[in-house]
Amino acid sequence: MARAGRKCRVAAWVWALVAAVASFELIADVWIRAQVPADQSWEEAAAFVRARIGPNDRIVAAPSWADPIVRFHLGALVTLRSAAPEDSARFDRMWELGIRGESTREDPPVLEQRFGGVRVRMWELAADDVAHDFVDQIAHAKVELVQGDASRPCRWVEAPRGRGGLGQGPMAPDERFVCDPSRPWLWVGPTILADLTLTPRRCIWQHPVGPEPVRSTFFDVPLGDRLVVHGGVDYENERWRAGSPVTLRIWISDRLAGELVHRDGEGWSSLAIETSSLGFDRATVRFEVTTEDPTARVFCWAASTRLTEAADE
C-alpha cells in the first residue's frame, strides 16, 4: 500500500515536472521576445545623443553585436575615424547605447538615461590632443620602393579598386600611391583593417615587399610630445599565425626613433615614442616597412603625434 502511494507521488511529481518544463519554455520564449527594445526606444535614445554629441565624441554599442543598430540610428554622426579608431585615447567623450544591461566600461558614467530597453551612458575621457594624424595626411607624403641605394617613387593616382568580398582583405581607396601596377597589392593608402580580434582599424596599408623597405615620408610634421604608432596584419592572414614578422621602422629627421616588430598572434600592436626631448618642434618622419617573406603580409599602420594635457598647460 505504502509502495503504491510512493509510486503515485513519483508519477505525480514527474508529470508535474514535465508540464512545468514545457510551460517554462513557453513562458521564457514569450519573455525573451518581450525584452527586445522597441524601435521607438532606439529612436528616442538616438535623438537624445544627437542633441548632445560633440565633434570629438565617440559612439559605441553594448553589446557589440548591437553595433549595426546603433550605426543605423546614429551613423550619420560616425566618421570612419571614430568607427575604426587606432585607440580610444583621442576622444573627448564616449557615448554608449546599451541594451540587456550590457556595458563596455565598468567605471560610473557622468550621464545616464534610459529609453525603454535602451540605456544611454556617457563618459568623459582624458583625450590626447592630436597634432598630426598620419592617416589623414598620407596623400601629402612621399612614397617609394627602396632598391639598394636607389629608390623608385610611387605615384598618387586614381586606381581600380577591389570588388569586395570574403577573403579579399581591406578595400583599397579610389586614390592611393601605386608602386607597381603588376603587383596590385603593392599600394599605400588609407583603408580599414579587420585586426586579429576583427576590430576595425583605420590605417595606412603599406604591404612590405621583402627585406628592402617600402617607405612613406612625411615632411614638416609637428611632433608634439609623443609619436604613437600602431600596426597589425589583416585577420584572414594573421589568424593562421604562420607569416613572417613585419618590421615598421620610424625615422625622425634621419634618426631611427623606434621599431615596431609585428609578429602574428600579437594583434593590433602599439609603440609610443617620446618626442618632447628631441629638441625640435617639427621634423621629417619616415615609416619603413620590411619583412623576410612578404607572402600574405597585409600590414597596415596608424600613427599620430600627440600633445598630452600637461603639455598643453
Binding site: 521576445r33 543598430i69 550605426r71 569586395g164 570574403l166 581591406p170 580599414i192 579587420a194 576583427l198
Partner: protein, 550 residues
C-alpha cells in the same frame, strides 16, 4: 516497448496524413526562404543533369559517351546523384506540365517529400514498438524542431539522408526477424549511399547492434538467431545503387569513388562561431554537437528524451549480463541509441572537419524524438495507472503541452531558422551574447526582398555578400525579386550592398564602409533585436530612382 507489432492500415493512414500535411505546410512556407548557397549549386547541377537526361531519352547512344557524361556530371561530383536526379526529374516535369507555383519548388519538392516520408517512418517505427500516441508525438516532435523545419524546405541532402538513414535502420531491424526485409535493407542502404556520405557510418552501427543481439541470443541459449541476411544484401545492392544512379562514376569508377571519399575525409574547414570564438581550423570543441543540440532542440523534447533513455535503461545492459534462459528481444533501444549517438560523436571527434551546422547530425534527431516519446509514454502510463486511472484527457493534454513549445518556436523561427536559438540559450539575443553562429549560406536575403523591391522600384543592382548569384536568379525566377534588380559583381557598382552578419564577415562590413564612405546602413534586418543583414546605400547611386523622390 514491444519487440515489434504488425502495423495496421490505420497506422499508415496516420503516417500518410502526417506526410501529406507536412509537405503541404513546407510547400506553402517555402517562398519565404531564399535559396541557400548549397541549394543554388545543387540546382545548377540538377539543370545540367536534366539536360543529360533529356539527351538520354532522345539520343541514348550519344548521351552514354564518356565525353557527354563527363560534361554533364563533372559539376558537383563531390556528392552522389540520387537527390539531384530527383531535383532534375521534378524540374523536367515542371517544365512539361507546370506542376508548381514557383520554380524553386520544383527543385525543393523531392527533398520535402522525403521530409514527409520521414515523419511517416518515425510514426510507423514508433507504432511498431510503443503506444501509438507516443509514435504520433515522436513524429510531431521531430517535425517541430526549428532547425529541422528549416532544412526540410531545402533542395539539399540533409533531410533526405535522415530519411534514408532511418529507413535503412528500420529495414535492417525488420530483417532480423523476417528475412524478406533483407533485400529492402539493401535497397534502402543503396539509396542512403546515393544520397550523402553520412550513410558510411550505417554498417558500423548495424554490425555493433547485430553482434549485441546475437551474443544475447547465444548466452540465453536461443536456437532461433537473428538473421544476417541483411549484410550481403547491403554489401551487394548498396554499391550497385550508388554507382547505378551516378553516371559520373561509370568511367574510372575506382578513381572517382576514391576522389569522392578523399574529398570528404580531407574536407575544408568552414569558419564557424561557437561560444564567442570563430573556429577555422581543428580541433573543433568536442562539445559542439551536444551544446548546439541543447541550444536548438526544444528543451521539453530533450528532457523527455532523457527520461526516455532512463526508462529504457534496462535494455542497455551489456550482453554479458544475459543468462541462460533469459527472454531476448531485438534490443530496438540499443539500435536507436547507436543511430542517435553515432552522428553526434562523428562530428564531436577533434579530427573531424569543422562544419558546425546542426544539419550535419540531423540523422540523430528522429531517434531522439523516439526516445522523447518513450519518456512521455512512461509518464503518461504511470499517471494513468497511479494518479487518474481510466482518464485519458490529462495525457492528451500533456502530449499537446509538450508539443507546444516546439510548435511555437518553429513558427517564430521561420524564415530565419538558422538564426533561431531556444530559451536555453536565452533565445536569439542570448545566443548573440554567447557568441553563437547567427547564420550561414546567405539565405536570409529572402527576408529583405520586400525592402529591396520598395527601394528599387525602377530596378537597380545589389551586391549580394554571401548569397550566390544562382540563389538570386531563383528569387527572380520565382518573381520575388524583379528581374531589373540585378546582382552587382562589385560593391562600388551596386546601388545597395548587403552584409550578412557573422563575425568573419566583419571584413566585408569594413570594405563597404571604405567603398561607400559611410558606416550608416540604410536598413538593418533584425530578428528578436539581433542584426541579421545590414544594407548600405551607395551614395553615388542615381537618387532620382528613390521612391520618395518620385
Amino acid at each position: 516497448m514491444n519487440d515489434a507489432r504488425a502495423l495496421k492500415r490505420g497506422d499508415h493512414s496516420v503516417g500518410a496524413a502526417l506526410c501529406i500535411g507536412y509537405v503541404v505546410l513546407l510547400g506553402r512556407t517555402a517562398s519565404d526562404l531564399a535559396m541557400s548557397r548549397d541549394e543554388s549549386f545543387y540546382v545548377h547541377a540538377a539543370k545540367r543533369y536534366a539536360a543529360w537526361l533529356s539527351k538520354l531519352l532522345t539520343n541514348p547512344m550519344a548521351a552514354l559517351e564518356q565525353q557527354s557524361i563527363d560534361f554533364a556530371w563533372s559539376y558537383n561530383w563531390e556528392h552522389p546523384a540520387l537527390m539531384k536526379l530527383g531535383f532534375a526529374w521534378s524540374w523536367l516535369a515542371h517544365q512539361q506540365w507546370g506542376l508548381y507555383p514557383l520554380e524553386s519548388l520544383a527543385f525543393r519538392f523531392p527533398a520535402m517529400l522525403t521530409a514527409g516520408l520521414l515523419l511517416w517512418l518515425i510514426y510507423a517505427w514508433g507504432a511498431s514498438v510503443m503506444d501509438r500516441r507516443g509514435a504520433l508525438f515522436a513524429a510531431l516532435a521531430f517535425a517541430s524542431m526549428p532547425r529541422v523545419f528549416y532544412h526540410a524546405h531545402l533542395a539539399c541532402f540533409d533531410i533526405p539522408i535522415a530519411f534514408f538513414f532511418m529507413l535503412t535502420a528500420y529495414a535492417y531491424w525488420r530483417s532480423l526477424a523476417d528475412r524478406r526485409w533483407a533485400p529492402l535493407a539493401g535497397v534502402a542502404f543503396g539509396l542512403a549511399l546515393a544520397t550523402k556520405h553520412n550513410s558510411w557510418m550505417l554498417p558500423g552501427i548495424l554490425l555493433v547492434h547485430f553482434a549485441w543481439v546475437r551474443v544475447i541470443q547465444a548466452r540465453a541459449g536461443r536456437r532461433e538467431r537473428a538473421s544476417i541476411a541483411w549484410l550481403p544484401w547491403m554489401l551487394a545492392v548498396g554499391p550497385m545503387i550508388l554507382i547505378g544512379t551516378w553516371p559520373w562514376v561509370w568511367n574510372d569508377t575506382w578513381g572517382r569513388l576514391g576522389s569522392y571519399a578523399a574529398f570528404h575525409f580531407r574536407h575544408v574547414h568552414y569558419t564557424y562561431e561557437y561560444l564567442g570564438v570563430s573556429y577555422f581550423k581543428p580541433p573543433f570543441p568536442v562539445s559542439v554537437p551536444f551544446v548546439m543540440t541543447l541550444f536548438t532542440v526544444p528543451l521539453t523534447v530533450l528532457v523527455l528524451g532523457a527520461l526516455g533513455l532512463h526508462r529504457q535503461r534496462a535494455s542497455f545492459r551489456l550482453p554479458s549480463s544475459t543468462e541462460f534462459g533469459d527472454t531476448t528481444t531485438r534490443r530496438t533501444e540499443v539500435l536507436w541509441l547507436g543511430c542517435m549517438l553515432a552522428p553526434l560523436l562523428a562530428i564531436a571527434l577533434p579530427s573531424s572537419p569543422i562544419f558546425g551546422g546542426t544539419k550535419h547530425w540531423l540523422t540523430a534527431y528522429p531517434f531522439l524524438a523516439l526516445f522523447s516519446a518513450c519518456g512521455l509514454l512512461g509518464i503518461v502510463e504511470m499517471a494513468e495507472l497511479q494518479i487518474w486511472p481510466g482518464r485519458r484527457w490529462p495525457s492528451v493534454a500533456l502530449l499537446g503541452l509538450c508539443l507546444l513549445p516546439g510548435a511555437v518556436q518553429t513558427a517564430h523561427s521561420h524564415p530565419l531558422g538558422l538564426s533561431h536559438y531556444t530559451p536555453v540559450a536565452g533565445g536569439v539575443p542570448g545566443a548573440a551574447d554567447l557568441g553563437m553562429n547567427r547564420q550561414f549560406w546567405g539565405f536570409t536575403t529572402g527576408s529583405v526582398a520586400p525592402w529591396l523591391r520598395e527601394a528599387l522600384p525602377d530596378g537597380g543592382s545589389v551586391w549580394l555578400c554571401d548569397t550566390t548569384t544562382g540563389a538570386w536568379a531563383m528569387l527572380q525566377a520565382d518573381g520575388i525579386i524583379p528581374r531589373d534588380i540585378r546582382a552587382a559583381s562589385s560593391m562600388l557598382e551596386a546601388d545597395f550592398v548587403l552584409v550578412h552578419h557573422e563575425p568573419h564577415f566583419k571584413e566585408v562590413d569594413y570594405q563597404a564602409w571604405v567603398a561607400l564612405g559611410t558606416v550608416q546602413p540604410a536598413y538593418v534586418l533584425r530578428y528578436d533585436g539581433v542584426p541579421i543583414i545590414s544594407i548600405y546605400e551607395n551614395p553615388k547611386r542615381d537618387r532620382s530612382k528613390r521612391p520618395e523622390d518620385g
